[in-house]
């Protein structure tokens, strides 16, 4: 036969368990939120890095940069007489 104080203990344990479950879930969600924030920041950082590298590649490959350097090396743009297009057979 469960006495009154046992009931009290059971209720107390149940209450503590419920509180623990709530706190554990909140802690887990906070950790997940922090991890998510970190990942988002990482992704934004990587995207920013990619965009910056693309911009630098495009600038480096632009005619404004390449042509003066090529001219210093004695290179020049070909005239149309120097461009040979090899005829392609039509598909059968």
């Amino acid at each position: 036969m469960i006495k009154g104080r046992h009931w009290l203990a059971i209720w107390l344990v149940a209450l503590l368990a419920a509180l623990w479950a709530v706190i554990a879930r909140q802690t887990a969600s906070l950790n997940a939120a922090r991890a998510l924030t970190d990942l988002r920041a990482q992704r934004a950082g990587l995207e920013g890095r990619r965009d910056e590298l693309e911009r630098r590649m495009r600038t480096a490959g632009s005619r404004a940069v390449l042509l003066p350097r090529a001219e210093r090396l004695g290179l020049r743009l070909p005239a149309d007489t120097e461009i040979i297009l090899i005829p392609v057979s039509p598909p059968r």
């Binding site: 965009d51 070909p78 005239a79 149309d80 461009i83 297009l85």
Partner: protein
């Protein structure tokens, strides 16, 4: 002195009254004002925040990003929270690129705020610093700031498109913002708890433009170099794919430094570039034979009704129509054009799109000027034949020359190639959108032959000639209109070219305003610059040229026919901003334009391949043939209009 029992009764009544007041007040607070107080409490504890949607990307036809959205940051610093104020300050000064003294001054305040915006690379080392608070904001970023700037436009401070395509495509690009609820403490600071997302933001659509980044760079550099070398006031270059109507490059530059898309928005008198349209009218109406000659009049000829004589720079004794185009003879063209009725001349110019906006997806496109024949004066017919008394934008000219390249079919030029949703699925893809047939395929072929002669020995466009590839082109040197008057000694040099002459792949229109150093003639200015651009395009790796077709063998890629056997357009698709909804129907029926304004109705019919005659003014009352009736392509639909009730 009252008895104790009475005093006790009074106290009890007082207590009861106080208790009743408390109960009533509690009831008022809970029952009557409960909702309001609950809302106030929620507002103090929570805050609804807007989750910005990422704006869609603009890219060129090969996928090169032209405008994209990046996450950037504002930086807030709470000096009293810094663990190592001296070391942290040095790091902050370095990452935020702020002078140490200025940062020291800022850190003496309770809270320092730096708007930046700073990139994620800048702030990455600051994330671990206690006391540094980062606020993420989305910012529009243009990897090549000067790339087609006037066409692409910019977004305003509010994040919405403010000009150019950014403005026009704003509804597509901007996406839908989301919303979330965050928890706050008593001081109003957000808790570091997960936000409750009410609605996820939907990113905007990505738009692939028709521009070709490499051709664009070639055009911009060539224009810059030419304007600097010639000390010109400004200029424009338009490159167009005549088979699809796609604009491949568009560059505009002005001496005053303004970034105006003048290739779309500013008109000029094209001069000799318009002579080919007079030739088109003569050929279309069979008013001239190939061998027929007119006298060159020794280079000066006074026509009835004209106050000044017509002159030619390099007169020939006698000229055929081909000679007249080849040497750009004003006198011969004027004599030939005198055989045309005003209506015939007007209709041909209209058929090539003169005096009507092209319909490109760009805000504030200019429509140019072409007066009705009843408003012409005596010399108007001659003036129009040699490119005066009308005005066009460089884009209109490119579209009109594109029609000559495209077997006589005028296409609506476009800047939009594809629209993709955030998952990458294609929501819209451009298909060639015919406006109307300007001339028959046979006449278009004859016109290309005439233009081919311009680039041959003795032609005005000789300096544009390429050794291995045939070009069809026309030069134009016209007096320049400034503030409504011809400015003495000022000229506009322009050049239009179809490359190559057979099965043209690119139409180039170049215009140079008031070149002051060296010659002002297009033959010496715009023509050689165009040749240089074409040579660079040939040498480039990724430009939109089909080299298989260029290699002078039988075409390997079959061009999609623009017309079905009976001569009507195969389909007309709606572009995202399409002003009329009826054009998406593939049916050959006359569209119902009843109740529409005349301009809108005429435009709808033009896009379906019909010619339009207007009776009356106001809104359309009915048409003949009636709405829904079948009519052949190129036939005339008469609109009967009545004043708006």
């Amino acid at each position: 002195m009252a008895k104790p029992a009475v005093r006790l009764g009074v106290v009890q009544i007082g207590l009861l009254a106080a208790l009743a007041a408390l109960v009533l007040r509690a009831a008022q607070v809970q029952l009557v004002e409960g909702r309001r107080h609950a809302a106030e409490a929620a507002a103090q504890r929570t805050e609804r925040v807007v989750l910005e949607a990422r704006r869609g990307m603009l890219s060129d036809r090969h996928g090169t990003a032209l405008a994209l959205t990046q996450e950037t940051y504002h930086v807030g610093i709470a000096p009293n929270e810094l663990r190592d104020p001296r070391g942290d300050a040095a790091l902050l000064a370095r990452r935020l690129r702020i002078a140490p003294r200025e940062l020291d001054r800022a850190l003496r305040r309770r809270y320092a705020w730096f708007a930046g915006p700073y990139t994620s690379l800048d702030v990455q080392p600051l994330r671990a610093v206690r006391g540094v608070h980062l606020e993420a904001v989305l910012r529009r970023f243009y990897p090549s700031a000067e790339f087609a700037r006037a066409v692409i436009g910019r977004v305003g401070d509010d994040g919405l498109g403010a000009s150019g395509l950014e403005r026009l495509l704003d509804s597509l690009l901007s996406g839908t913002p989301g919303a979330a609820v965050v928890l706050k403490d008593r001081a109003g600071r957000e808790y570091e708890s997960p936000a409750r997302v009410i609605a996820e933001p939907t990113p905007g659509d990505d738009v692939v433009l028709t521009l070709d980044a490499e051709l664009q760079e070639i055009a911009q550099r060539a224009l810059d170099d030419a304007l600097d070398r010639m000390d010109a006031e400004g200029g424009d270059v338009v490159m167009l794919d005549p088979v699809t109507g796609e604009v491949l490059a568009v560059a505009s530059r002005h001496r005053d430094g303004t970034a105006r898309p003048s290739a779309f928005t500013e008109t000029f008198e094209p001069g000799s570039l318009a002579k080919i349209f007079a030739a088109a009218a003569l050929l279309e109406h069979n008013r001239v034979r190939a061998t027929e000659r007119v006298s060159g009049e020794g280079g000066s000829y006074r026509m009835a009704g004209r106050p000044t004589p017509l002159t030619d720079e390099h007169p020939l004794p006698s000229l055929t129509l081909a000679d007249a185009i080849r040497v750009s003879s004003n006198i011969a063209l004027a004599k030939f054009a005198a055989r045309l009725e005003p209506d015939e001349q007007y209709e041909t110019l209209r058929a090539f799109g003169v005096g009507a906006p092209t319909g490109i997806e760009f805000p504030a496109e200019a429509q140019g000027k072409l007066r009705l024949p009843r408003e012409w004066t005596g010399p108007s017919s001659t003036s129009l034949a040699i490119g005066y008394e009308l005005s066009v934008t460089p884009l209109q000219l490119a579209a009109a020359y594109g029609a000559i390249a495209n077997d006589g079919v005028l296409l609506q030029p476009t800047l939009i190639r594809e629209v993709r949703d955030p998952s990458g699925a294609v929501r819209y893809r451009h298909r060639p959108e015919p406006v109307r047939r300007a001339v028959s395929p046979q006449v278009a072929a004859r016109l290309r032959d005439l233009l081919r002669g311009v680039v041959e020995a003795g032609g005005t466009g000789e300096r544009a000639a390429l050794a291995n590839f045939q070009l069809a082109a026309k030069t134009g040197t016209a007096r320049r209109v400034v503030e409504g008057r011809y400015a003495p000694g000022q000229y506009t040099a322009s050049f239009a070219a179809l490359f190559p002459a057979d099965e043209p792949q690119i139409v180039v229109v170049m215009k140079i305003d008031n070149p002051q150093k060296g010659s002002y003639f297009a033959a010496q200015t715009a023509a050689p610059v165009t040749r240089s651009m074409l040579e660079q395009a040939l040498a480039a790796r990724t430009v939109a040229l089909d080299r298989a077709r260029l290699s002078n063998v039988a075409p390997t890629a079959e061009r999609a026919p623009l017309e079905e056997p009976d001569g009507l357009v195969p389909y007309v698709v709606s572009v995202p901003y399409a002003p009329d909804s009826t054009s998406a129907q593939p049916a050959r029926a006359v569209p119902d334009v009843t109740g529409r304004r005349l301009r809108e109705a005429a435009r709808t019919l033009h896009r379906r391949g019909f010619r339009v005659v207007v009776k009356g003014w106001g809104v359309v009352h009915h048409s003949w043939p009636a709405a829904g009736a079948s009519a052949a392509a190129g036939s005339t639909v008469t609109l009967f209009a009545e004043p708006r009730p």
